[in-house]
Symmetry: C2
Subunit: 334 residues, 2 copies
DNA sequence: TTGTAAGCGTTATCAT
DNA sequence: ATGATAACGCTTACAA
């Protein structure tokens, strides 16, 4: 800017005003500035600008990536951020459990604060101990939106799937087929998506006007142990005719086990998953499932984050908002 | 820092020195500083620090995300950056073709420059017209590593798969089965991975010591048109007994077409894909393929980028390096 | 071991 | 419509 100011013969301020469109600049002056800027390939330093204005234009995103669902969310976030001319600072989390994950996540959040991000979108590693790392964010009044996993102990904006209703619909659909002996495959109760889908399913099945049974298989790591499934199906679960798994990965594990036992899908056993995990054009997960509209979750989260950021200026303190998007059933004939 | 300095009763500089470990600070002073910093939850402003030192600790990554391969690459990059305490600024590209993609990509690169990233990792949208947007990067001497798609017109560090050798191995393996009539399914010649894999395959097959045929089907958008495949297989390609597709998506398209025609895999037709696209735990792409070690590509790219960044200080100008990682065959019995 | 002064590239504020 | 000056939060260079 100094160079431009000198060459054009104006002060730094005139150049600054031209660059960020604040205040009036004479048409003639503007032309010269534009010309010189172009010639010397001037690129404003966004970081310094951020230091001045208090808005860096950077948004921190903390989530496990790689999996289909989260890349969809990430894409939704990214697209909205692009429209807002904001940058996406990505931190991927790996482990899901235990103290280590929490410690790791705290460090990531610290880093984001040190980078002075304008806001944070977070998929929490853990329902527990969240006060620990939310504390600082609250103190500093950093805008934040939580996605996918609801954290009951911390009131802030949340965007996720309507898991309870999704689970209910799964139950209703299996019931409508006249099935009676259900297997519910979950990841345990530690995370809201699994917990809520299971709850919805149980509620729906419990309200059937005929006698039904529901057995539950839990895989706390969300990875289906095929041996355990086989064992269940050959012993206690010999009569199972309907399976709901809280995610597609678990559903696929069941599918493989069933095929191994020679049980036909859906003639002998119906099966429904959740998540519509899909990968680029044409790959196909052979299990009826629910589309969570991942990209929309991401976009919504980003929009809510910006609403918070804009609000900060006005400094009102509205109540936190919880948004749950309906999952859409995808019938793949299983 | 000002607050800490005042409370402890030292100058700003002492605090600064303590914070970044430069110079000596008395043990006693250090204790006090640490204490106050802890109490007031001081977090250094990395952006300002970057402005001063010329290193922001931010790395820009420009690539299409979402697909399995790229999320693997992203993960590799991310892990290395974490180790280096650097931040990952992600820009996702959507369209792959035409002027628009190039324009979009230029804007992204500009943004990264405005953010003063220390370096850039780029999966180029296009082999053509690259000088256009590389020009500025070269002028500004911004460290950059290109991945996946080799850009012949621009000499810079590159990391990708050894596509030619991979294609050769596919050919060799099909030949070893005694097959004679091949179908090569490509995405055309515009991008190096498709082009090179096809070249390798053709070379291998051409060196067979028996008469063979090779037909080629091109899908410039990399999405398999099942009708076109069916048409080919029922007419000209009735005798095809071996298929090599330059990526798994195309291979799966062929698989579906074959199954529809009642051709058995691999009894009637052998098929090999490329890319080992996989998604979280347990999903399974039913086509023999090659693992590109995506995460290693990402990590290597990041390492090479940091080598450049460190070199910048020393300002020597070494030749650019091209690294090609071998793809590993994954036998899935097809 | 600590301090002083200047500077990084930009915007805010108040004046002209 | 333009300018002067201070300020943002930190580091570098030099001095004590």
């Amino acid at each position: 800017m100094k160079v431009i100011a000198r060459e054009v013969g104006v002060s730094l301020m005139t150049v600054s005003r031209f660059m960020n469109g604040t205040g009036k600049v004479a048409a003639e002056t503007a032309r010269s500035i534009r010309e010189v800027a172009e010639r010397i390939q001037y690129r404003p330093n966004r970081l310094v600008r951020g230091m001045q204005t208090g808005r860096t234009g950077l948004i921190g995103v903390v989530m496990p990536a790689g999996l289909g669902f989260y890349s969809g969310v990430l894409e939704g976030i990214h697209d909205h951020l692009s429209e807002q001319d904001a940058g996406l600072l990505l931190s991927m989390v790996h482990g899901d459990w235990g103290e280590r994950a929490i410690e790791e996540e705290r460090k990531l959040l610290h880093r984001l604060i040190e980078l002075r991000v304008d806001g944070i979108i977070l998929r929490p590693a853990n329902d527990e101990a969240t006060a620990l790392y939310f504390e600082e964010i609250v103190q500093r009044n950093v805008p934040i939106v939580v996605i996918d996993r609801h954290v009951p102990k911390f009131a802030c904006d949340f965007v996720g799937t309507d898991d309870v209703v999704g689970g209910e619909e799964a139950g209703t659909r299996l019931l409508a087929r006249g099935l009676k002996n259900f297997l519910l495959v979950t990841g345990g109760d530690r995370f809201s998506p699994s917990r809520d889908r299971a709850k919805g399913f149980r509620d729906a099945v419990a309200s059937a006007n005929r006698p039904v049974t529901v057995d539950t298989l839990e895989f706390p790591t969300f990875s289906p142990n095929e041996d355990a499934i086989l064992e269940y199906l050959t012993e206690k679960g010999a009569k199972v005719d309907g399976i709901f798994a809280v995610n597609d990965n678990l559903a696929l594990g069941c599918r493989r086990a069933l095929l191994k036992l020679g049980r036909r899908i859906p003639e002998d056993v119906s099966i429904i998953g959740f998540g519509a995990v899909a990968i680029g054009g044409g790959y196909f997960i052979p299990v009826s499932t629910f589309d969570q509209h991942a990209d929309l979750i991401g976009r919504t989260a980003s929009e809510m984050l910006f609403a918070q950021i804009e609000r900060k200026a006005g400094s009102s303190a509205p109540p936190s908002k919880t948004v749950r998007l309906a999952a859409t059933f995808i019938d793949r004939g299983t």
